[in-house]
């Protein structure tokens, strides 16, 4: 391992005795994982086992799963969240690509004004205007619809600026060559720019997927019908089953609810890390 990179200058101060650091790191990783490990243990137990503080897996995993997945239709909430997250991430990526294209490759009157309008939204988090937004979207009659949790989030300054920055770092020759070939802007976007932007697209996808999936406040206000609810809010209905606090099912549901964003994050870690360097806006 040590001599693996013969070309790299040896940084002796970085080496030294390494094992204490590894011990410390493993301990830290375990410390960070503790809440999740503990929840996993509880997820397998029934209330008797939990109150006895039993420290080995319990007997109730299957029945906990049943009460979460079947009785409370957590599956339905997971499906709603999946749809929402995919619509928002796809829509936002397309809209951001279009905005980036317009900002970098077109010259038009009023560009500075548009740029300014988009820039200012960076300091306008949805949460500070959530009451007015609630009244507005309710006025559209959108309560309990997928539109209410998708459409308002389809555009963002973060996405537009991410692509704007990425495109403006690309060589000018790309545009010139494609113009000589007579490509339309749409063709230029789909044939040239997008294939060169997969890292950025993946990074935006991870950020937006995690952000959308983990949304809580807005769906909790605008969605009141349980069958249209998203996972994060549906968790709340699980704090209480048949009039009693039920820890096992709640922990199991929390773990299940974390699987999709965790999988997306882990699978796309590499492009995420390389693309993220560009997107430190938000």
């Amino acid at each position: 391992m040590m001599g693996f990179n013969p070309g790299v200058k040896k940084r002796t101060w970085l080496r030294g005795r390494n094992w204490p650091y590894h011990v410390a790191l493993v301990a830290t990783a375990l410390g960070i994982a503790f809440p999740l490990l503990y929840a996993t243990l509880i997820a397998t137990q029934n209330n008797t086992e939990i109150f006895a503080f039993q420290m080995r897996p319990g007997s109730a995993l299957v029945s906990n799963f049943e009460s979460v997945w079947v009785n409370r239709d957590f599956a339905g909430a997971m499906w709603n969240s999946t749809q929402q997250a995919l619509y928002v991430t796809t829509g936002k990526t397309i809209l951001s690509l279009m905005a980036g294209l317009a900002f970098v490759y077109f010259k038009f009157r009023g560009k500075w004004l548009v740029f300014f309008l988009v820039l200012v939204t960076l300091m306008m988090p949805t949460e500070v205007m959530i009451l007015a937004m609630f009244r507005l979207v309710s006025g559209f009659g959108w309560q309990d619809t997928m539109a209410s949790i998708v459409v308002p989030f389809l555009a963002s300054a973060t996405g537009a600026f991410l692509f704007r920055q990425h495109f403006s770092n690309m060589p000018v020759e790309l545009l010139e060559a494609s113009q000589i070939d007579g490509a339309t802007p749409v063709k230029f976007l789909t044939r040239v720019l997008i294939p060169l932007s997969w890292n950025v697209i993946a990074a935006l996808f991870v950020i937006q997927f995690v952000y959308t999936w983990n949304m809580f406040l807005w769906p909790s206000l605008i969605i009141r019908d349980e069958s249209a609810q998203v996972t994060q809010v549906a968790l709340q209905t699980l704090t209480n089953i048949d009039g009693a606090l039920t820890y096992g099912p709640l922990m199991l549901a929390a773990i299940i609810a974390s699987i999709p964003p965790a999988v997306v994050f882990l699978l796309m870690q590499k492009p995420f890390m390389s693309g993220f360097a560009l997107g430190q806006d938000k």
Binding site: L25, A29, L36, N47, A99, F106, V118, M124, M129, A257
Partner: protein, 459 residues
């Protein structure tokens, strides 16, 4: 009274040209004072001069003057960019257009507009419209779902402040005076002497006095007013707690990981995965750990150490600590991720030079690594603050629901409690406006500072 405000604005417009611009001519003086008066007149016109109505209190007059001053200030700042462009001193216009090689396609004028239309439509309908409506709602008394509403002018805001206009002016002036006084004192001292150190301490104290002044300006409740001091204090304690705990732990762990692993992606994954966890799930997990009857924390404290921990939801300190711990845990992965990236940017040659010079590991960190991390630290400060302002709503909802007695009810939680649960849209909107002002302040501070001191090398 309105006239006094407009006259002051006109004078301010004249002074603006006199003291800030090289090129001064009668036209500029005239334009500047007209623009200042116009800016100052915007809010009184929009609100029907209600802030100066005879039946309103001194606090209302004060706020109405404040709004006029803000309007004039914004108008003058915009005017400055126009004058600067005339004088050719500014490169603002290019920075705004943004592009080194803007354009390229020469097509119909409508093509870029078609490309931008969906983005603009959504931003205008779902961000700008509710933003404006938040301001209009904040001047009214209106029930959720009820069609009628009453114009209460600035009443929703004066409820949140103390009743004395004199103190409302004196406290912020005092705090600002302290900040600039400390800064001035610092310029009179020289490097690495004891007066400099004392001045540094004074600067920190002066910064803290700003927080204290704000606390003193908010209403302590009673007499039909809202106890906004406790909302403010709770928000400050919990946000500062999350920023301090989350960022210092993140830095320490990233430093540890960076030293020994160098590219070991397994460790990195094991450290940063909570990034994908939601604030709601963080709340659920810590709800379990700290549960007074079934949770492992209470049980361990009792059986191992014989400490009888009270129910955390009934103790201000424990409830706030629990929220801070859960939220810091959730944001920790994010902080580690960015600090790891930050360490990559620290020059190894400089660190090596420090080693050769015989610097101790601690000196090495303090004098070489830490300054190199300042852009990342600054960036994280802003993102962590945003997270602490908004995202922790779900964590609170699962852990304490604002208990005990509103001591974990941070601003966003209070806005929903007042605006949705109590159905009092106007009052909720007024609190939203204050939070909005705080966010704008932080963002502007970020823009200014990141333009000046912080360098995002390449990225």
């Amino acid at each position: 009274m309105l006239i006094i405000g407009l006259v002051v604005a006109a004078l301010a417009g004249l002074a603006y040209v006199r003291f800030l611009f090289e090129r001064r001519d009668p036209i500029r003086y005239a334009v500047s004072s007209v623009v200042a008066v116009g800016g100052a007149a915007v809010t009184p016109i929009a609100m029907g001069r209600c802030g100066f109505a005879p039946e309103t209190s001194g606090v209302d007059h004060l706020m109405a003057y404040g709004l006029m001053a803000a309007g004039a200030a914004v108008a003058l700042v915009v005017l400055r960019s126009v004058f600067d462009r005339q004088d050719g001193v500014s490169d603002d216009s290019e920075a705004f257009a943004g592009e080194i090689r803007s354009g390229g396609y020469r097509m119909g004028w409508w093509v870029p507009w078609v490309l931008l239309a969906p983005t603009l439509a959504i931003l205008i309908i779902f961000l700008y419209t509710p933003a404006v409506q938040t301001f209009t709602l904040s001047t009214r008394l209106t029930r959720l779902g009820a069609p009628r509403s009453v114009d209460v002018c600035l009443g929703n805001f004066s409820e949140l402040l103390i009743a004395s206009p004199f103190r409302l002016v004196a406290y912020p002036l005092l705090a600002i005076g302290l900040v600039y006084g400390a800064r001035f004192w610092r310029t009179r001292t020289s490097f690495a002497t004891w007066p400099r150190r004392a001045a540094d301490v004074a600067a920190i104290v002066a910064m803290l006095s700003v927080f204290v002044a704000l606390y003193a300006m908010f209403s302590p409740g009673g007499g039909g007013n809202v106890d906004f001091r406790s909302v403010y204090l709770t928000t400050v304690i919990i946000s500062v707690g999350i920023v301090v705990v989350g960022m210092s732990l993140g830095l320490a762990i990233a430093y540890l990981a960076y030293r020994s692993l160098r590219g070991g992606s397994v460790y990195r994954t094991l450290l940063i995965w909570p990034y994908a966890i939601s604030p709601a799930v963080a709340g659920v997990l810590f709800f379990m750990i700290f549960d007074p009857t079934a949770g492992i924390f209470t049980h361990t404290m009792d059986t191992w150490f014989g400490i009888d921990v009270p129910n955390y939801r009934e103790s201000t300190f424990l409830a706030q600590t629990a929220i801070i711990l859960a939220s810091s845990w959730k944001i920790l992965g994010y902080n580690i991720l960015f600090y790891l990236a930050g360490f990559q940017a620290v020059s190894l040659d400089q660190v090596e030079a420090a080693v050769i010079d015989g610097a101790s590991p601690w000196q090495r960190f303090l004098k070489v690594v830490w300054p190199g991390l300042s852009p990342i630290t600054f960036f994280l400060l802003v993102t962590n603050l945003t997270y602490a302002f908004f995202e922790i709503y779900a964590t609170i909802e699962f852990m304490t629901r604002g208990a005990p007695a509103g001591d974990t009810s941070v601003a966003i939680y209070e806005i929903i409690r007042v605006g949705v649960n109590n159905g009092d849209l106007g009052r909720g909107a007024a609190q939203s406006v204050l939070l909005f002002i705080a966010v704008i302040g932080i963002t502007l501070w970020q823009f200014r500072t990141s333009g000046r001191r912080v360098t995002y090398g390449g990225a």
